[in-house]
């Protein structure tokens, strides 16, 4: 007698028990603390916050731990939590010119007000595995700056002074910035919404697209005008108060890409811009985002759309790794009902094919017999 497979519930329960066991690993090794993850795997935590679009180091660290280090799974955990949070209001735009800068580099000027500041970077490290780090290393205390107060104007503002670069993008009058987490996307999409989608988009996807523009698939002649990393105030307007309330500080990475100049009968020649802004410290993501932002402005700037990175619907529809991973991985769900439908049709077509061949094979014989 055949008995249909049962016991989905028990199987799921057991699988999750096994997952918890593997997550914990060897019990003789102390469990990771969230402080260790936020402190020592800080860039992983930053990526989870950026693509999870929720700024909370503790929860992001918890997500990394719960996901066993699977970044997209951790991002997904944070997103699913984020979606349940009540919304109290929208903050003012953050003022990156007033950033407490930890790192700031410009590739367009040798020196500039505020100076170049390398900060905590992998740049110029020799990528040699460091055996000392295998143990409990205690690095020397770094030097710190004394002057914190020197103004550090943004490179885009310096160029804007001469009118050589287009201004900060501005929204049409009477148009509030959109919110991709509260509205269904609609194409063509405005830049405010595009930037939101890019900012939480998958680092790898944007990296590959940004790279493709450098190799000629939608080239836009980028210069890294400025990359700055540091903390900014988050402020909100409260109806009863005539000054904004500071909610706290977040660390962000901003990239201002200076691109291919443009000019027309009405507009004098000036550089165009691509913009990247990401939670935490993530230059790669911010730079890739800036390249993609610029590429996606093709139609606004009257350029031909010839490359994937310039194709708004293609880029925006596929940049979200939580969506992408869900749909790719859903292929492991049962599809046997559909497969059965295909199987039935292929078998029928196969039968018809054999019958035709049979009939064709018999035809000459019949003719012979008639002769």
């Amino acid at each position: 007698m055949y008995v249909a497979v049962k016991g989905g519930e028990a199987a799921i329960r057991n699988a999750h028990k096994l997952l918890a066991d593997r997550r914990r690993g060897d019990r003789s090794v102390p469990a990771l603390t969230l402080e260790q993850i936020t402190g020592q795997l800080a860039l992983a935590v930053d990526r989870v916050m950026a693509e999870g679009s929720l700024y909370d180091c503790g929860l992001a660290a918890l997500a990394v731990k719960q996901a066993r280090g699977d970044m997209i799974e951790a991002i997904f955990l944070l997103r699913a939590y984020r979606t349940t949070l009540p919304r109290f209001g929208y903050t003012r735009p953050i003022e990156t010119a007033a950033m407490l800068v930890e790192r700031r580099v410009s590739a367009t000027y040798k020196d500039l007000p505020g100076g170049q500041l390398l900060g905590p970077t992998f740049d110029y490290t020799h990528r040699l595995l460091d055996p000392e780090l295998a143990g409990d290393s205690d690095p020397a205390t770094p030097e710190t700056r004394e002057r914190e107060s020197e103004a550090m104007p943004r490179v885009s503002d310096i160029l804007a002074h001469e009118g050589l670069i287009e201004e900060d993008g501005s929204l049409p009058e009477n148009r509030e910035p959109g919110d991709i987490t509260r509205e269904a996307p609609e194409f063509p999409m405005d830049r405010d919404l595009r930037l939101q989608a890019l900012s939480r988009g998958d680092e790898g996807f944007l990296l590959a697209l940004g790279y493709s523009t450098q190799r000629g698939f939608g080239r836009n002649h980028p210069f890294a005008g400025e990359i700055r990393i540091g903390e900014v105030d988050v402020e909100i307007d409260v109806p009863e108060l005539d000054f904004p309330l500071t909610l706290g500080r977040i660390r962000v990475t901003e990239c201002q890409m200076v691109n291919q100049f443009k000019g027309s009968m009405k507009v004098p020649p000036q550089f165009t811009r691509g913009y990247g802004l990401v939670f935490g410290q993530s230059e790669r993501k911010a730079m890739a985002m800036a390249l993609c932002d610029r590429a996606l402005r093709a139609s606004e700037l009257g350029e031909d759309i010839t490359a994937p990175a310039q194709d708004e619907e293609f880029v925006i529809s596929h940049a979200d790794n939580v969506q992408a991973t869900g749909f790719v991985e859903h292929l492991k769900l049962p599809h046997y009902v559909d497969f059965q439908a295909e199987l039935g049709l292929v078998r029928q077509m196969r039968r018809e094919y054999e019958e035709r061949r049979q009939a064709d094979a018999e035809k000459p014989q019949r003719r012979e017999a008639a002769e």
Binding site: M1, Y2, P86, V322, G326, E329, H330
Partner: protein, 295 residues
């Protein structure tokens, strides 16, 4: 972290916050008023992956109340892992009664099947939809397909189906077979086998479709005309199985093929597990059911 842990545990009835429910409910009402038209909605991230039923779950969560009795099926079966998981989710976040019996359910959430037992007035069938746009595989751009729906320009779909006939002698679409709703919108019925298409026509139940990742909701009210696209010389027809269910002996139902050994041994059993169990409880027997029907 304890404060965090406590905060995480607080969820609203049926998981979604009320504002989200209102937004989804408004979309559902417009979807009912424009049968077959895909209403964009601001789909939320859910605690299960996109592509695993987030659209259906959001629709169900916005509709369900404490009085409801919920049934969840995947591939026609109540005990497939994802059906089990979604049912457990609603038991946890909405404390609703659940059932496997089609006739007892007020809301049935489904992936890939429509139950064999005809649905009744007042029942709601919620479909999980991966790709809601029937024209998507002919034209990947939303900007284009939206225009086609606006202009009722469905020639491309007919060309595609006709090319199938020219090439294979058949319309090669066996599931997610496109339908026309109330003579206006061409609609994707979700990846149900075309065997189930006729059940959509003039169904007594309300049919709601949720596509979470693609952020679309659409609907077919009860007693609505739903035609499968076809041609005069190639009329629409459903799959036929040559043998009855090996367990309950049912004819005219959709069957799963179960491989029994590596020598070509196979059997066919009902895909709708509830239907099969009820028939067996009524004494129907198939040739592999292990016991003879009462004589």
């Amino acid at each position: 972290m304890n404060a965090h842990a406590e905060a995480i545990a607080q969820y609203n009835f049926a998981y979604l916050d009320e504002q989200t429910k209102r937004m989804i409910r408004r979309a559902i009402l417009k979807a009912i008023a424009i049968p077959g038209y895909q209403v964009p909605f601001a789909s939320r991230e859910m605690p299960m992956p996109y592509g695993w039923g987030t659209g259906g779950v959001q629709v169900t969560a916005s509709v369900i109340g404490p009085q409801d009795v919920l049934k969840v099926i995947d591939q026609g079966a109540d005990d497939t892992t994802n059906a089990v998981s979604i049912r457990a989710f609603f038991q946890k976040v909405a404390q609703v009664s659940v059932t496997t019996h089609t006739g007892e359910a007020t809301i049935i959430q489904t992936r890939h099947r429509i139950p064999e037992e005809p649905l009744k007035e007042g029942q709601v069938l919620v479909y999980q939809v991966p790709i809601p746009e029937p024209l998507r595989f002919l034209e990947p751009r939303e900007t284009e397909t939206r225009k086609m729906h606006a202009l009722e320009e469905y020639g491309l779909m007919h060309v595609k189906l006709y090319e199938d006939i020219a090439q294979h002698g058949h319309i090669a679409t066996t599931f997610a077979y496109p339908v026309k709703v109330e003579g206006r919108y061409v609609m994707d019925p979700s990846p149900t086998p075309k065997f189930d298409n006729p059940k959509m026509h003039m169904s007594k139940a309300l049919q709601l479709f949720g596509a979470g990742r693609e952020k679309r909701i659409y609907a077919i009210p009860p007693y609505t005309h739903v035609e499968s696209l076809d041609f005069d010389d190639h009329p629409f027809e459903v799959q036929r199985f040559e043998e009855p269910c090996a367990l309950c002996g049912a004819h005219g139902v959709y069957l799963d093929e179960v491989v029994l050994d590596d020598r070509g041994g196979r059997m066919f059993v009902c895909s709708d597990t509830d239907h099969c169990e009820e028939r067996r409880a009524e004494g129907h027997r198939g040739h592999l059911s292990g016991e003879e029907a009462a004589t």
